[in-house]
Amino acid sequence: MLGWVCAYTPEEVFAALGIESYRLCGEQQATAMQHLLPVNICPLVRACLSEAGARNSGCDGAGMGTPLSGVVMAAACPALVHLANAFQHDRGRSGRFFVHLLDLPRTLGRENEGACLAFAASLRDLAGRLSEFYGVAWDDGAFLDAIERQQQVRLLLREIYRMRQERPEQFRAAGILELVRTAGRTRKEELAPLLRSLVASLRDAGASGSQDGGSAAALQLECLRRQGSPRGPRLLVTGSPLPTACLDLIEDLGGNVAGDDLCHGYRYCLPNVEEDLAGGGTDLFLALSRGYLQRPACPRMLPGEARFAYLQALVRECRAQGVVYHALKFCDTSLYDYALLRSRFIEAGIPMLYLETEYRDAGLEQARTRIQAFLELLGSDSTPVRS
């Protein structure tokens, strides 16, 4: 079982080798391995470190499942690099443990074939190291299957997002994030039928979720559904990963999350690997690299003005009346991103609320007041922003 964090991590490579993977999200309360990282570093990274440590030591008390046999960390930011360092450094660990820092090129806001080639090389290197460590031979056929299954899952998730966008008052935003997290922890061949069942249930408003997938689909449906008011302000949520309790709070206070641009949310669904890869001669690593890199760039990729253009289009598409920007304390990527976006959103006349949390120690009560004020500012007028 391989642990991973960043949405640029290629699960397809793991699946091709038959290795199960688990997306670390740090949502459980744990304190393992905290002595390895300073307090002034990303709280999500610290939480993921504890989650992995507790999982592997079995001292979490809640039974977290299969211990990790390794981690693959995309070198997306210094915090993730140090997370990889911490796993490498951990003296308390016994036995073999795979730690890999995955080089992740920056696309710099343009079609960047050099970056795609570099990432393809990085993926190939990862595949080779995993193959050697786990003693599994590489098979292009299995890789192709893994790519296709992952793409299927993304398409199904995007359909759920599309439905949510139409009627956000009927969807629980935190439930969607939980679904995406589940996607990062479940074998895709098991997940796809569940998602298909879920999509069918959501389409049919009267369905009780009795399609194949059984009680699992029904349970997911319950986590997704809510009965909000369509008059509540429509919002786009962006920034760094946020505690799902924050989304529940927004909705409890009358807001409707119509869309998100989050690593634990819609960004996971964005990669678009080219179709028809089965044709001979296709470099699957390069196809996968392009699929991951040639998508609307997150701020880490230094997209410049393209980032605001993308968010502005998303605001229009979601018919959002305002934007909630969430930054994790010490998340430099978000903190610098916000400084630029703030002026852009002001110029464009799009109301924006800035929230900062420490992830698990969410400071929800401080957030409550600010969210409440923001929603009051937006009012119950359902007119979306025309920008």
């Binding site: 002595h35 390895l36 990282l37 300073p38 002034n40 570093i41 990303c42 070198a75 930011c77 210094p78 915090a79 690099v81 140090h82 990889a84 360092n85 911490a86 490498q88 450094h89 003296r91 820092l101 080089d103 090129p105 920056r106 710099l108 050099g114 970056a115 080639l117 570099a118 090389a121 990085s122 290197d125 701020p299 230094l302 410049g304 003005e305 930054a327 304390k329 010490f330 430099d332 990527t333 903190l335 610098y336 991103d337 916000y338 400084a339 630029l340 703030r342 002026s343 900062e356």
Partner: protein, 437 residues
């Protein structure tokens, strides 16, 4: 009155900054003042670095050449080869802190939307940029090695100045593929920079810049070898002042000459038994008593000299600093882009933390230090993020290590008294070890 005090008196009011800094008279006055204080400089190389920095700042503010902002570790050899004027906003932020204007400047950065949790160098730059106090760039050059924040900041400031930001994306891995990836970008950046600034990209000039950079490298290595001696022949605190040459000077004629002067001076001083006194105080003869030899990691507070003065008052010397270490292989002027790529890819702190640990342990042995201090600059995630692991690993090898949390520019983040207390306690530990307790 020292140089900083004189400059502070000229810049006492923010509204005067642009007028003062863009006036050639200012640089005539400052040059004159510097020459008057030449005799009190601990080393001729320190004086000449000051003169070099002053001239370049003057060039930047008086518009004598197109100004190009360059982030730390960006290979400025490219800039020198195009006869452009490199400007380091990080060095400017350090100097703003030294002059006592950091708090006001950072407040402006925070008003512009920059959180207090990000690097104070960058908050200071953002504030000074928002106030229009920095020379307008024709382009901004940033490397993702070593600092992750600089490309993010430069991207934002690119929008403010309507000047393109050219970013070098440097991978963590090394090897032929990584070298090709980086070398290709270096060539693209060089050509783009030439086009943007209307300069002619001359391969011969580039080879010349790389050659000078190699001269700098060789001379600083010579300096570092001389510094192995006990007692230490030069103040490590003064050596931290040469960071200007490391960040802005490589590839310039001046940096090559100054480094040669520095090496010769130290060599002569060693042979003559002259010792350099406390930093900034000039030469004195006789052996300098050294109670403790320290390896210093990262930088220091620039807003106050209290900590570093205290270190010296306790009889400790910086036998070596992380920033002075020459880690990159020789540069080949015939292969400028690949040489610079290898230089970028070889930084030990841009690799798994085990490499930084290995290099620090090696330096600790080579310079026969008694202890290691990691100054953890508050907003520097890449450096301070690994500090606890570095401490644990080096302590296992037997080195006393102090992780000193502080801030280079923002004095509001730390109470100096707390830092001094921790440093004193560390010195006591070192003393006890010496006495075998």
């Amino acid at each position: 009155m020292d140089f900083d005090g004189f400059l502070r008196s000229l810049l006492w009011e923010r509204q005067r900054w642009n007028r003062v800094l863009s006036s050639p008279l200012t640089y005539s006055l400052l040059n004159g003042f510097l020459r008057l204080t030449r005799a009190s400089c601990p080393l001729e190389a320190v004086y000449r670095t000051g003169l070099f920095a002053l001239n370049e700042i003057g060039r930047a503010y008086t518009g004598k050449a197109p100004v190009v902002w360059s982030s730390a570790y960006f290979p400025v050899e490219l800039v020198w080869s195009l006869d452009l004027c490199p400007f380091s906003p990080e060095v400017a932020a350090a100097y703003i802190a030294e002059l006592g204007f950091a708090e006001e400047t950072m407040n402006m950065g925070e008003q512009a939307g920059y959180s207090r949790d990000i690097c104070s160098f960058h908050r200071c730059i953002a504030g000074a940029a928002a106030a229009g106090n920095l020379p307008r760039p024709a382009a901004l050059l940033a490397s993702t090695q070593l600092c992750d924040g600089a490309p993010l900041l430069f991207q934002n400031l690119s929008a403010l100045y309507e000047a393109p930001a050219l970013v070098l994306d440097v991978p963590y891995s090394s090897g032929p593929e990584a070298e090709h990836y980086v070398a290709g970008q270096l060539e693209q950046v060089w050509l783009s920079l030439a086009e943007l600034t209307g300069q002619r990209p001359d391969p011969a000039r580039l080879a010349e810049a790389v050659s000078r950079s190699e001269e700098f490298r060789a001379q600083m290595q010579r300096v570092n070898e001389l510094r192995c001696r006990v007692p230490s022949p030069v103040s490590g605190i003064d050596m931290l002042g040469f960071i200007y040459l490391f960040f802005i000077g490589q590839g310039s004629r001046e940096a090559a000459e100054i480094s040669a002067t520095l090496a010769s001076e130290i060599e002569s001083d060693c042979e003559a038994g002259v010792r350099v006194g406390q930093h900034g105080t000039g030469r004195q003869s006789g052996a300098r008593p050294e109670k403790h030899r320290l390896l210093w990691m990262h930088l220091k507070p620039y807003y106050s000299n209290e900590l570093m003065n205290f270190v010296e008052q306790q009889g400790a010397v910086l036998a070596m600093e992380e920033f002075s270490h020459i880690y990159w292989p020789p540069l080949d002027p015939e292969q400028p882009f690949f040489s610079l790529a290898r230089k970028l890819l070889s930084h030990f702190a841009f690799k798994p933390v085990t490499e930084r640990i290995r290099v620090m342990a090696e330096l600790a042995r080579k310079y026969r230090v008694d202890g290691i201090v990691h100054f953890s600059h508050h907003g520097c995630r890449q450096a301070s993020g690994g500090a606890l692991m570095i401490k644990e690993a080096l302590q296992e090898e037997g080195w006393p290590v102090l992780v000193l949390e502080g801030d280079c520019v923002d004095g509001r983040n730390e109470a100096c008294g707390g830092m001094l207390t921790r440093m004193q306690a560390f010195m006591e530990i070192l003393q006890e070890r010496k006495l075998g307790w």
